[in-house]
Symmetry: D2
Subunit: 342 residues, 4 copies
């Protein structure tokens, strides 16, 4: 029975970890911290969990994790980097759901995140926790940088194309549509119901923090890769839809076959039949990424449609998938529930 700690348990990735761990047979949540809610039972903040956990939020304190095998950081960016070393030194493994260890180039990280990195020495040893890319490295990692929701989707959409050299690497456009929960659980006029319902908008057109993260991974595959990335906010809670465009560099490929072969053994990537248009609701609450690929012969472009639940495959579910790998459990344990339709 793995002993789990969660830092920063009052955000959406925190409650989603708890929702999924409640059904995971091999774990027990030992400690969950929250500065603002210390002393409050978890179920008072998240009544969906009543009857599942009788733990209370506690003050953040490195010592409190000492009996844990693994600590999840479900915190804002910039927290994990301050505590990671102390935990690793005690032999505790760590998965950061925020961005502190995702970007290998420290200067790039500091530019996009606007602060000095507190622990550059650990960045190099961190493994980028996308199992479809780094499964073996994750299995032996002590420190996993859980990918962002946009990068997870865009990278999974592009891997078969880039790794097989099927596209012009600098031609990529990723037009992404995300549900509001991706913005976190914060008091903010801009994310209130009245401001976001019945409306759609783009944001951060000239630069979103997930852009260098995606670029780093794509360039690790093909150093000519470059992309335009425009995120949009949708009036829905969960769900992320990436529409990815790229120029085909030949016209003879059986692209459906390429995708099916590429993901044949992946438990959480589902290549839909040719001609499909995946809906985000088909993965609501589930750890799956569903992908459809289209070829437009007029313009000789591929259009890849990929959907995830941003809180599951885009955050907490992928973190548990990584945990399963790190501790030698079956990769799918606790992650088998189908999406919820309707």
């Amino acid at each position: 029975m793995l002993k789990i700690g969660i830092v920063g348990g009052t955000g959406y990735t925190g409650v989603e970890l708890l929702r999924l761990l409640a059904e995971h047979p091999g774990t027990r949540v030992e400690v969950i911290t929250s500065r603002s809610n210390a002393g409050t039972p978890v179920v008072d903040v998240f009544p969906n969990l009543r009857g599942k956990f009788d733990i209370k939020f506690s003050e953040p304190d490195v010592d409190s994790y000492q009996n844990c095998d693994l600590v999840f950081f479900a915190t804002p960016n910039g927290v994990a980097m301050g505590q990671a070393k102390a935990l690793l030194d005690k032999g505790i493994k760590l998965i950061d759901l925020a961005a502190d260890f995702r970007i290998q180039d420290i200067e790039t990280w500091e530019k996009w995140y606007g602060e000095a990195h507190a622990c550059p020495s650990l960045v190099e040893q961190a493994v980028y926790g996308l199992p479809e890319l780094n499964r073996d490295a994750i299995k032996t990692a002590s420190l996993v940088a859980n990918p962002g929701c946009y990068p997870t989707t865009v990278i999974l959409a592009l891997l078969p194309l880039l790794q097989n050299g099927l596209i012009e690497p600098s031609s990529i456009i990723a037009d992404c549509k995300s549900g509001v929960s991706g913005a976190g659980r914060n008091a903010n006029v801009a994310t209130t119901y009245s401001e976001l319902s019945e409306s759609v908008k783009a944001y951060a057109v000239t630069g979103h923090r997930h852009l260098p993260e995606i670029r780093q991974i794509l360039q690790s595959i093909n150093n000519q890769a470059e992309l335009v990335f425009v995120p949009h906010l949708m009036p829905m809670i969960r769900g992320l839809h990436a529409t990815v465009y790229a120029d085909a560099n030949n016209t003879d490929t059986n692209i459906q076959q390429v995708f099916e072969n590429f993901y044949r053994d992946e438990p959480f990537v589902d290549v839909m039949p040719a001609g499909s248009h995946p809906e985000t609701r088909s993965v609501k609450g589930a750890n799956h990424c569903r992908i459809a690929v289209h070829y437009l012969d007029t313009s000789k472009k591929y259009v890849v449609l990929a959907v995830i639940d941003n809180l599951v495959k885009g955050a907490a579910g992928q973190a548990i998938q990584n945990m399963n790998l790190m501790f030698g459990l079956n990769e799918t344990t606790g992650l088998n529930a189908p999406g919820m339709m309707p």
Copy 2:
């Protein structure tokens, strides 16, 4: 391993049965029928189930269920009553998620459902499948009438009050708010997104089919019971909120204690702390009913707030709870997943 048949599998109660059975360790779906989709793989209609079922919809045909231990009717009203006898004669148990066997008085049924009852002889032997009321009878039943979503919620809100004689039985008002999935999966202008989003309305003020169903159960407890029932349609997919008003017949009761004692051993009824206001989302996807009770001393009324997911505790989840009871399984098997928040 129970062998399961599902009749009418293309509606929302059908897909919800499949979603829940996918995670139920003691069942296997042998056959699922749909006249309109016969020959189509289930996952083509419900892509959330991809990888979970490789069965196809088949033509409805009583013979096709012959290897089943249990058949769920996830059909419109009026279907199960035509096929129930043939199935029961083969020794197959049956749970009807529609209304054919819910109302004991045939004349009342025929008045509200507008047709002759095809099988009045079986009505008497049918057990009304609300475990909190009829657990023992369900355990030995062959034919279970799964309750309606509104009746489930309103009855659970009222049982502690009525059975303990704490209210004026003719003073009940049940103002109910339902998500749209309760209207089923049908082509209908009135339930399109553009017609229902950003709007609220009452419907069937002068008489809804769930009124005689609720009345029958309440009067079985206190024959003076009478109620006003007004359903409203909410712009959300899932969730049902009942706000139930009744005159207290004394002012000394510790009503919180009454509710907590009454439901102490119930796995799926959660009495919230005094002063609570349960949200429907706290049970989204879960089989729980959460209840809070308030006493208004100015008017000497109780206000009971009760929430369920209309497709789970209000339909497919309760049906599986009944199945578990009928076949001697643990009552909660396959039904432990927490609600999904956010």
Copy 3:
């Protein structure tokens, strides 16, 4: 051309005043204040108004209103009472969209609003701005207390019954459903999209500030009147639906006729045909209240369904209706636009 000032223009009642005044032919907005946005063009906060106003928000300052004929307070509760006297002394009329002058009994106000009233002497002279009740008094008023959104709806639903003595006055239950914009434009986790979408809940069951406001008006008509009032939050931006229950005190009334006669000459109250179920969307953006009345003969109760747009007839639209009356304009000027469906 009336010269208008608006205090507190960055909330939803502020922007709604601007939206409606943009089309009002007899007014010009001279000044609009906002402490937090002073110096910012109005259209930078509310881009829907681009091209309609080139005014900027200014610091709140009583002197800045000196050229105004009328000042709207679109502020939180507790602001208008501090500035009203100074404005009235300058001969400027005032409409408070908050609650400072709605409740005649100072002790009651202070109990529900949790602070000392800063200007009790003006309360008595304030007119409760419900034109259907107080039209003549509004015409000559200098200080109008614009009603709350729930009180507007519940009172309009009950006026024909109470004034004609058709109900048991202590039997009233008002079960109300409101869109989220009624909670204002504030940074608050509880009103974010992710917390409120796809969910319904009651709130303030044991006491909401609009309860004493409704009670005061009802008791001014029949001093035996008493009510239970339970508000609920709906996943929609605009719209308020009141479902009002009361015991009929005789069974012979042609209730449809009573309502039609009562509201025959009202420009903004629409009695729907017998048997109707009004939808909130039918008044989205419009100043109308649509009402349907049902009689339930089993329980001898009336059920009145009434809908408004909480930001229009429940706030800014009614304020403009009051302004029209106070300044001798046609009551409907600027308020004729139909609701927006879909």
Copy 4:
């Protein structure tokens, strides 16, 4: 006073025409037809219009329009082409909100619309009713083909770039997001609330009927123009957001200035300040198109963000704008209402 006829008045473009015409000072709706609702008062279908119209739907019949100056076809594709000649022969002008006269090449039309064109001879004389492109021709036209919602948005986003030769004409990608009302008012499982809420999907990736319409207009400006067009369905009623990508062909352009100059005199196209991200809600119910243009220097691409209300500038509002032009009225008459926020 213009006498107006509307054919096919029970769809969303029909009710939107009525909503806008209710406030238009220079028109009177003489006749509105609907085969399915003949004899029913308009306000029984659209209660938002109660008090605004006392007309009933009548049977479609060419003779019934004989007193009209103008007939709007708010019908499905394929209706107007059968009746246009008879109306024009009587001297009645005609605006088709469907697609019958939008595509000049008959073969292309027949390929995409799947039927023989009933009236090819009129296609050539029809004017494509985008005032920002064809204002002068519209003024003298008898037959106007009102543009589709996607084409309106995409073309307005691209006009300043294409007409000024600022982009590589074959590099255009238009990723579009539409509210559900664009799918019309039909009984269809796929557009029910339960199927579309809380989800996003692409559709018609390999070919949507608006693609040849957009292409025709773009190629009329630059015959090298080619585009990829992917529409997506959003969980909202109204609103259309186009995100348009194109390769800049030089890097020195002050693109903000280009857009501002280009649309300086347009009453309904609003170029937002540099760096803006327009929201669809800023034009909800309004006839405006708001546009922001961004330049990405890493990839040397322009990203143009353009939003409209698909039922107003994308349908009924633009039709009235065309009507105003055709009859010498002020172009903005009846179309001045600001968008509704929130």
